[in-house]
């Protein structure tokens, strides 16, 4: 499907939602944390099954974490962007909709300290056993010694 068609579909599904097309085959959807589940569930209902990955960015200057959920559908990469406060980094799991996203949620939990509510497997995935708990290396305030 052409990007304009997919963007139009998303706009119809979620009235008022911000949708941009940075270039062909790339669509950005601007959402909020509380709407995230509805948006993803709606996309899943429309036929989206493939989560490519979840990117997290530490916007320390604004006190926010920005989360990007990258989904591949109909030859378009749909990126759903949300922001959550750095002070209370809590987000619900999306594994109830996309079970394949488990590894990515474990990664952002371990690397950024984001609490993913109801995650089926909350163990740290990449960091070693000796790496101190409560220390999140991909945060901007983590200094590599």
């Amino acid at each position: 499907m052409m990007s304009e068609q997919v963007a139009g579909l998303i706009r119809d599904m979620f009235p008022g939602i911000g949708v941009t097309i940075p270039r062909e085959r790339r669509i950005t959807v601007y959402s909020t944390a509380d709407r995230l589940h509805d948006v993803l569930r709606g996309l899943h209902g429309a036929g989206v099954t493939h989560v490519t990955t979840i990117t997290c960015m530490d916007k320390i200057e604004r006190g926010m974490f920005e989360l990007l959920y990258h989904l591949w559908w109909e030859n378009n990469l749909i990126t759903v962007r949300i922001e959550i406060p750095r002070a209370i980094p809590v987000i619900p799991t999306i594994t109830t909709i996309f079970p394949g996203a488990l590894s990515y949620e474990r990664e952002i939990q371990g690397m950024f300290g984001i609490q993913v509510e109801n995650i089926p497997d909350p163990r740290r995935i990449l960091l070693s056993d000796e790496f101190p708990l409560g220390v999140y290396p991909l945060r901007k305030d983590y200094e590599v010694k």
């Binding site: 960091l127 070693s128 056993d129 000796e130 790496f131 290396p137 983590y142 590599v144 010694k145």
Partner: protein, 155 residues
């Protein structure tokens, strides 16, 4: 040369362990076993268990998670044992030096007898490293000549 030295120098068995590298050196270590390079003509054999081997061939930088395991693998080998660090990452941490999950080269954890630099070193360089290592064994005498195989590019 007594029998034990002869056995050690004519058939050094190797055990390979990747402590967190990118695999390039591992592919070249395995390529050394394949017909183009054929380490078995020097009596080298890749063994699965450290208890069966004389030389521990280590690739990759030591990550925090593998450090203790590397130590344990080394301790399980029977004496006399030798360690060959293959690739710049095993020598010094390489491109990952300074990363938060990387301790550094192999010598941060276990004593190293021979360093083979390269990113990755060619299989012939790895074989050369093992042969030079054999030459260091007391009583070993002269070491076999590692010549480049004919055919193909430069081996």
């Amino acid at each position: 040369m007594d029998l034990m030295t002869w056995a050690r120098t004519k058939s050094p068995w190797i055990c390979h362990f990747n402590t967190g590298g990118c695999n390039a050196c591992d592919i070249e270590v395995i390529a050394a076993l394949t017909p183009r390079f054929d380490v078995e003509r020097f009596g080298l054999l890749l063994k699965a268990s450290p208890r069966h081997s004389d030389v521990l061939v280590v690739t990759g930088p030591v990550t925090l998670q593998t450090q203790e395991r590397l130590r344990r693998v080394y301790d399980q080998m029977a004496d006399p044992k030798f360690v060959l660090a293959v690739g710049v990452c095993a020598c010094s941490g390489g491109v990952y030096h300074g990363c938060y999950n990387v301790r550094g080269g192999i010598d941060t954890t276990i004593p190293v007898d021979m360093y083979v630099g390269g990113c990755p070193p060619r299989p012939s360089e790895i074989i050369d490293g093992v042969i030079q290592l054999i030459g260091k064994i007391p009583g070993a005498g002269s070491v076999p000549d590692v010549t480049e195989p004919k055919g193909g590019e430069s081996g």
